[in-house]
Symmetry: C2
Subunit: 165 residues, 2 copies
DNA sequence: CGCTTCTTTCAGAATTTTGTGAAGTTAAGG
DNA sequence: CCTTAACTTCACAAAATTCTGAAAGAAGCG
């Protein structure tokens, strides 16, 4: 019942946050298990948990943890760590890296752009539809370029606000 | 076989684009029917189509069109128009409005922020987890603010590139 | 090397989501 | 008003997803 221990905050409070934040991620399109695992990691004091810890807190099978973690690792939202001399793995959110992955929809944008480019070509750049597609394409290209600059500004803003540690 | 008529480009080329662009939207999290309807509208010369036209091109039922359009209208990606003196409705992409809706994830951001704020409070702003959540929250707040400015710059860029018409 | 511990893969049951047909609702035109 | 054209809603069948238990696969340790 003591909530001051490093990893021992009121488990219920943690769980409430995990589930409510995960629900938002789900609503935004993420699948449920990855969302819950991610939220759990995010609200852990260490910023990392083992497979067993995740399974216990979220009441899900090792298989579910495995699947969720695979997805999160592929999308660069968590990384896997090996504690040397143990076959236990830790899954970690890089405090300052994960939201870059989120903002980093670059792959998505790139594919959209590619599809649009083909569309412009095949419908004809001088048809009304082709022009609309072209303008849309230009928007995404613009957006993609701005994103990098925006992330730079964020880092500066963050260092100023939170200190560089 | 004449492709210069206003709405008469090679139907197959249009269909190819529609399906491939829609597939990208689906991969990014949009549901299939809205994605297809949206792509179809985007690649129409008028920038608008009737329910019947959509049903025919996409080979889907009126019910499916209705559902897709309802979703798209709710998310401000298309608007509905009544041609006066007819019970036919037209669904339209606003050439310069639709991607604002796309970039306009503000509602999503707002909900995330709200969940994070609660998390910071209930885990304690001075715990490691609370600090991580707080920093995440700050990022979203920052991002939200930047988005508006970014869209401004886009409009300027667009007007310069495409002329203001 | 074999044991043990952890992780991954796989087949399948349960749930959820999707799209349709058909009935219902609204509104224009006679 | 009645008819008719268009859109919407609803219940359900089909299909896709999701999560699990069980078995198989790695990797440290004796």
């Amino acid at each position: 019942m003591n909530e001051s221990a490093g990893s021992g905050q009121d488990a219920q409070a943690v769980s409430r946050f995990v589930e409510s934040f995960a629900a938002q991620l789900v609503e935004a399109g993420m699948t449920r298990m990855p969302a819950r695992v991610f939220a759990a990691l995010l609200s852990s004091d260490e910023g990392s948990m083992t497979s067993a810890e995740l399974g216990e807190q979220l009441r899900i099978s090792p298989a579910a943890v495995s699947g969720a973690v695979r997805y999160l690792a592929q999308t660069h939202m968590v990384s896997r760590e090996r504690e040397p001399g143990s076959r236990r793995e830790r899954y970690r959110v890089h405090g300052d890296q994960w939201y870059e992955a989120l903002a980093n929809r670059e792959n998505v944008l790139k594919r959209w752009e590619s599809a649009l480019r083909e569309g412009v070509t095949s419908l004809g750049p001088d048809t009304p539809a082709g022009r609309r597609l072209g303008e849309t394409l230009a928007f995404f290209e613009f957006f993609e370029g701005e994103l990098a600059a925006l992330m730079e500004r964020w880092r500066a803003h963050r260092d100023k606000t939170f200190g560089s540690g």
